[in-house]
Amino acid sequence: MSQHERMVEELAGYALGALAPEEAAALEGHLRSCERCRAELAWLRPAVEVLSASVEPREPPGRLRRRVLEQARAEASAQGGRLRWRRIGALRPAYALAALAASVLVAGVAGYELRGSGPQATTTPARVTGLASPGTRGALVRFGDWGTLELSGLPPLRRGRVYEAWVSSGGRVRPAGVFEPSPAGAAAAGVTGLADADAVMVTVEPRGGRSQPSSPPILVAPVS
């Protein structure tokens, strides 16, 4: 058995935290030089997340929140006062609502004026299909007839491919714009014409987008 074959055998134990420290160290050494093992481990990790998400949920007591946050604040002020909040990533200035009306709105991370006057926002979690990357999450934040599809954990696409948003109503699907996620995998896509829509979805398409989806959706958010 080669060193690689021996190490592959250990990946599940490593992902579950069940290796002795010296075994874990040996595997970590191997991982640095073995891309196949790194890929295999990355593939296994979501299974471990399933385990942690399978436990009976319990609401943490309010006093725990107070304790943790008080301690964090105390440590922050001990370190020389509050650090100024700074914008990160590809944050852009607020887009005009007119841009939304044009149906496409894309940015690395949120930063839009979306909470002006108008209807109350409703948030619906999106269903992630088997085609999506395991870490992908999404939700439709709807303000009446329009809204934004908020996405995170989108993997970078290979060259020449883009994400495209779609609005489906009464069996018809119309394009709502192509977008690229931030380096960290976040995106917010503006969608309009939701009044009579059934769902908003996302597919992966050739650059420039299509007028009809050419692949099944990676994510579907029902419009309730």
């Binding site: 055998e9 250990e10 599940a12 134990g13 579950l16 935290g17 069940a18 002795a20 990355a42 593939w43 296994l44 990790r45 979501p46 299974a47 471990v48 997340e49 399933v50 385990l51 942690s52 998400a53 399978s54 436990v55 949920p57 319990r58 609401e59 943490p60 007591p61 309010g62 725990l64 929140r65 943790v68 946050l69 301690q71 964090a72 604040r73 440590e75 922050a76 370190q79 650090l83 909040w85 990160i88 607020a94 991370v109 949120a110 930063g111 839009y112 004026e113 909470r115 088997g130 395991p134 870490g135 934040v141 908020e150 996405l151 995170s152 954990g153 931030s182 960290a184 995998g185 976040a186």
Partner: protein, 192 residues
């Protein structure tokens, strides 16, 4: 738009990055997003409210103090946090094994278990998901589910499990791998 609104629109990764930059408001939101998952996992492993609170607090503060911060190659933000919670909970379990539990601890737990009562709707949804996931894990062959649970929730090493079950080490490794691969495949096929 207020800062809180803007923060609330950030994905987990961006929020984690702001936490890494020592932004107090971002940390507060980070706590609110993940505290229930963290506390629930801690409770599942250590089995009582007081110890689960300590573990959860240590895990969040270790992230707050961390210099290295979140690294996307280690999986999702939630997975990264829960990995830290799990390791700290197992440490707590081992420390406790060295010092036996006091008999009256159960009563203290009952008192300590009072929750803030917020977010009960979200909790109901999580409960539903959790029970579906448990059913899926329960559908694994018993011997595979057993080694996975002993390792992940019990903190036993493969060698310890082999001794405990009186089976060869290679068998434990094989069951662990098959079981985990089955969960992962079910996830990919959207069975979970």
């Amino acid at each position: 738009m207020g800062k809180a609104d803007t923060l609330a629109r950030l994905g987990d990764e961006e929020l984690a990055r702001l936490v890494g930059a020592k932004d107090v408001a971002a940390f507060e939101l980070f706590y609110d997003r993940h505290a229930t998952a963290a506390y629930s996992l801690a409770y599942r492993i250590v089995g009582d409210a007081a110890a689960a609170e300590d573990v959860t607090q240590e895990a969040f503060l270790s992230i707050w103090r961390s210099r290295s911060g979140y690294d996307a190659t280690r999986g999702s933000v939630r997975g990264w946090l829960l990995g830290i919670v799990r390791n700290r909970a197992i440490d707590a379990l081992r420390r406790r094994a060295a010092a036996p539990r006091l008999a009256f601890e159960g009563e203290v737990e009952a008192l300590a278990g009072a929750s803030s009562g917020e977010g009960t709707e979200a909790l109901a949804l999580q409960r539903e998901t959790a029970s579906e996931l448990r059913a899926a894990i329960g559908s694994l062959p018993g011997e595979q589910a057993q080694v996975i649970e002993l390792a992940y929730f019990g903190g036993f090493s493969q060698a310890e499990i082999a001794r405990l079950l009186a089976v060869p080490l290679g068998t434990v490794k094989g069951r662990m791998r098959l079981g985990l691969e089955k969960i992962r495949t079910a996830l990919a096929e959207e069975v979970l």
